[in-house]
Amino acid sequence: MSAFLTSSLMHNIFGGLAQGVVYSLVALSLVIVWQSTHVLNFAQGAMAMFATYIGMTEIDRGIGYWWCVIISVAVGMIVGGLTERVLIRPLYGKPEINPIVVMVGFLGVLEALSAAIWTSSTRNIAEPFSQIFYHANGNLVYLSPFIIFQIILAICIMLLVAALFRFTRLGLQLRASALAPEVSRLLGIRVSRMLTIGWMLSAGVGAIAAVIQASGSFGLFPTNMDGIFVAGFIAAAVGGLESPIGAVAGGLLIGLAEQFILAYWSPNVAPLGGIIILVVALMIRPQGLFTKHAGRRV
């Protein structure tokens, strides 16, 4: 058993899953926003990064790690809600390029603003769990307490989101507003409020992803979510922007693919893995692998 755990195959699987769950969370947050407002939020990663900066710098004031996580998520949700109200709401009904461009602009503002406030140097955050890998019979197991923590936290968040949408009244209203806004409005659901809540939820999930990423060995810096966003987007597109389960599966797939390319070819070509998967998936099903309705929106 320990020989199996220390094998290079398991090393790559653990490494791929650890990175994959972060992609999955970003993909999930993109899908939530897409479902509620049909906007692809290019500032998703930057918004999460910004929230993480505000939350995690509280550690410097002696506030505990977990409180800082909660602050990050809360700030993320507030930023998400405000973004929908101020930047996105005026653009409903405009050509689809308009919200994309506005969110790209917002991405630029957030990254520059963060660098102006907190500098663009890497900031290491004291992680709650050790990042030193386990050993078995003198050989390395490519799992650390921190990696186990990040996988478990990500799974909990995904289950929480699933439960919210499936079993709560709010979740039902959110789904109804996304599927049939006109009917929902007639039934007394305040659709515009649901759109804002969708953005808040999405930004909260994104903030968790950024917190995990920043607590890991890469640390926190203004562009630290750029690569994660690209991979998260690819994951969401592979799964189909309509499908939360597809987003999660897509994230894990991209994470594993990158890890195996990194290990068996070169770290530099790892981003290629995501693109190849995306192109193949989109050639097979242009609306994503997990989307049920293949009809095109005009």
Binding site: E96, V101, G108, V109, A115, N268, V269, G274, I275
Partner: protein, 360 residues
């Protein structure tokens, strides 16, 4: 002035040639009075204007979005750079042609899956492409020089040009102005071709596809071919601009093409005005002198330019401008009623809406 306007509104190749030439001549004349540092900045701006024009064509005329133009620039730059590194005596025209072909081919490869995609999927795929190009280039160190890059000495000021200058700083002034003039001429040729493309059958078909692809298909327009050719042309322009930029920089290095460059390009295009020649000119001018602009803002507001805020002022200003422009003047600075607009109008396409009748 009516005769002037009507003359340029004649949509003949001839009038466009004269229009572009006049603008280029004006710019060339200006390079004689600019200080050498400003000439170097202008040269970079001319190269970037070519890329912006391609992007403007793609988004404004074919309705497809690309966040991958920094990637296409890198492809063109590496193609030209690798060639020029080994064949230093190749005429510049050939090196640049190589970049156009390489950029166009990369555009075609991306276009094949892309033409089946709309909006967000397309934006994301091109973004992923831009994110992957430079790491992949770095992987093949023996060909691309890895992270260090390739160093070029292809742009040598000809002696006849150098002889126009005298004085203690003659060499410096001549070199800076030669690069600026060269870049302006290459940009002018690219602008002339695009001006003709706007008014060609392809251009009209493109707008029809953008506005109503079902109708276009009914009228016999091949959607796949039209969309992928739009991508190819935009990528070829990006390849040319990227190669020219790298020749001016005398090196091809991965850090010239960060992901943020795609965002900068989009910003400049939107600021100038989507789908117009003058928008690309304005975008290029803003790029050229953005550092001076930011320095000016810093000195106006009393911000220390080497503080964190001062160093990131450009990102903040560009981002805010992009958001405000898209929300309040989505057709860009060119749509604002100013005297400059009248000057630039001579270069704008006459009609912004497609005319179905023209397709026959």
């Amino acid at each position: 002035m009516d005769w002037w306007r009507s003359f340029f509104r004649q949509e003949s190749t001839h009038s466009r040639l004269i229009g572009v030439t006049a603008l280029a001549a004006l710019t060339l004349a200006i390079t004689f009075v600019l200080p050498p540092v400003a000439n170097s900045e202008l040269a970079g701006g001319a190269a970037i204007a070519i890329v912006i024009l391609g992007l403007s064509w793609l988004i404004g005329w074919s309705g497809q979005i690309s966040l991958g133009n920094s990637g296409f620039m890198a492809v063109g730059a590496y193609a030209a750079g690798i060639w020029a590194h080994h064949h230093n005596t190749t005429p510049l025209v050939f090196t640049l042609a190589l970049a156009i072909v390489a950029g166009g081919l990369s555009g075609l490869i991306i276009a094949i899956p892309s033409t089946r995609l709309r909006g967000p999927y397309l934006a994301g795929l091109t973004l992923a492409f831009a994110a992957a190009v430079t790491p992949i280039a770095q992987n093949f160190t023996s060909v691309t020089g890895g992270e260090g890059g390739i160093f070029l000495n292809s742009l040598v000021t000809p002696s006849w040009f150098g002889h126009l200058f005298s004085g203690a700083n003659a060499v410096i002034n001549a070199n800076a102005q030669w690069t600026a003039d060269l870049a302006v001429v290459v940009a002018a040729v690219s602008f002339f071709f695009m001006a003709n493309l706007f008014h060609s059958r392809t251009g009209r078909a493109m707008r029809l596809v953008r506005d109503n692809d079902v109708a276009a298909e009914l009228m016999g327009v091949d959607l796949l071919r039209t969309r992928s050719s739009a991508f190819m042309i935009a990528a070829a322009y990006a390849g040319l601009g990227g190669a020219l930029y790298s020749l001016l920089e005398a090196s091809v290095r991965p850090e010239t093409f960060p992901l943020t460059l795609s965002i900068t390009l989009l910003t400049l295009m939107v600021l100038g005005g989507i789908g117009t020649l003058s928008g690309a000119v304005i975008g290029g001018i803003i790029y050229s002198f953005s550092a001076d602009l930011v320095a000016h803002v810093n000195s106006l507001t009393g911000v220390n330019p080497t503080s964190n805020l001062g160093a990131n002022m450009q990102g903040i200003i560009f981002g805010v401008l992009l958001i405000l422009t898209m929300m309040f003047a989505p057709r860009g600075l060119v749509s604002l009623r100013t005297p400059i607009q009248k000057l630039f109008r001579i270069l704008r396409p006459r009609r912004q809406t497609p005319d179905l009748g023209e397709l026959h």
